[in-house]
Symmetry: C2
Amino acid sequence: MKHVTIKDVAKKLNCSVSTISRAFNDKYDIRKETRDHILSIAKEMGYSPNPMAKSLLKQCSNQIGVVVPEFINAFFPEVIIGIQEVFIKKGYQVLIMQSNESHITELENIKTLENNMVDGMIISLSLETKNVDYYKDLIKQGFPLVFFNRVSNELETSKVLFDDYKWAFFATEHLIYQGYKKIFHLGGPAGLVISQNRKNGFIDALRKHKISFDESSIIETGFMISDGERVMEKLIVENNLPEAIFAVNDPSAIGAMKMLKKHGYKIPEDVALLGFTESKLAELIDPPLTSVAQPTKEIGRTAAKLLLEQIETKGIFVPQTVILNGRLNVRESSMKLK
Amino acid sequence: MKHVTIKDVAKKLNCSVSTISRAFNDKYDIRKETRDHILSIAKEMGYSPNPMAKSLLKQCSNQIGVVVPEFINAFFPEVIIGIQEVFIKKGYQVLIMQSNESHITELENIKTLENNMVDGMIISLSLETKNVDYYKDLIKQGFPLVFFNRVSNELETSKVLFDDYKWAFFATEHLIYQGYKKIFHLGGPAGLVISQNRKNGFIDALRKHKISFDESSIIETGFMISDGERVMEKLIVENNLPEAIFAVNDPSAIGAMKMLKKHGYKIPEDVALLGFTESKLAELIDPPLTSVAQPTKEIGRTAAKLLLEQIETKGIFVPQTVILNGRLNVRESSMKLK
DNA sequence: TTGTACGCGTTATCAC
DNA sequence: GTGATAACGCGTACAA
């Protein structure tokens, strides 16, 4: 029933707990035979040091925490796989929590992980998170933190990003090169840096090519399929259809596509579509969706490496921002048909 | 830098640590004013009790652990959302780990969670896991454990299941009713109970309707899109196409569909397709995929409730197996066209 | 080479 | 109503 402790082993072996401890911690001030004997008996008894007590003592746990807003879309799960890849090799355990896009839950997650004395955290902020004071404190305390994807400009710490601006720009240019003039953007939630950047890329591409647009060309949407559907339905009802749409991500593009098809519109003949953060669906859906692919696992690996570095060089550490590259996968949904 | 502890507060307030502790634990043997004063000062100092020390003492943590094999497919993330729903309300934190379909990682995950003194765990076994001795020990020790989806018949504990046999049977019957005679099954990894059950449902439906089949009608495939592609390509090359396919899950069905389309086959005219554990892709893909839908969130909620019950009634607990219901969503991929 | 004693941050059980 | 102290399980400086 109870976990076997160091005391039980000491009692059994008629020696002190420190000897047991030493056997397990491979210090040199112990006779080899004693050590081997202790280890074998301990194994037999099913003893292993309680990392929790160790953590309490050492104030670190060989665990790292990951907090993501959701994992319904494939993006975050894939990033986490990259993170695990790095940390498992180094003997760290990865604890994952999801904030469910709630600021309160996110904060509770962070505190739980802190309480578990994780040695560092990798975080992507929830939609609701505006106030980042808690993170500022953590950073001030020297607590190792790395952010990715959903970051805050107010925080001076390592970040792993994607060049949303650049790729939104390229994506929009692609639509322009296909000959589309009236182009709309289904934007992400306002206030999110990635939404901003993608929007700015969109705008600047239009400007560069002297394509007119106004505020009605940019519609705040959201990250889910349902968001894309909702916004698209409104456009259809208002009979205000563009020739092409650049959506903030694949799910919103797919939602729009679903609604367009439901109303009998053809893609790309009636409306061309282009997504972002390529998901598996992109090439499976009909018609296949043109999308900007992000190196998800690489984002995870990079964040993990940055955190590891930060943990190991605790103190003398300079925050880095790594910006990773992507690619535009052109498919049928954005082609200009003759 | 350092976390503020109960001692710091005691020092500041010129009182003993026990008084502080009492203030936080709402015991009645403390003056109300003292309590309020302490609480406000403590808050000011940014103190909150360290749950880790508390766990060490109380041998429980108000945390529960979840171990899943993967979260690339949407199934597990959705279940986890259901789990969180229940536990967050009850004030528990949910720690998630993924085994990456590796037995070793799974075991390490379990141990890590144990070491964090989680009060219970919800587990879905990895593909590799054959030996469940560790779980047997845990159960013998009275440790609260609930399994779902990937379970072992050797373990006597609460389980949340889907009636894979029944729904595989229904799904296969649906294909039969559509008039298909030569039907293949893309099966899941052998050794997995869910693979077995789905296969048996398939076989028994064929038998009931006196439809002939042999061992070549059942092809071990896997759970990923790539598995479906691989197997389908082989069938195409061998020129051994059935009229209809019942696949063990949506990704394998979608992989098969991809490969069929790539080779110019029409669905369902040339080959009809039917999946399992409906994913978002099912209704988005072209043609929309007929699939058996599982109540993913409900699976999570149910598992959570069973675990909660088990934690609360520690000792006098009888393992339960809950079997949840689903539905067959019929779409174009399995229709018999005139 | 080994044992003793203290501390990590709490709470519970005593006294007072 | 409040304070001292022992425990939870471990690592380690120090003494032996």
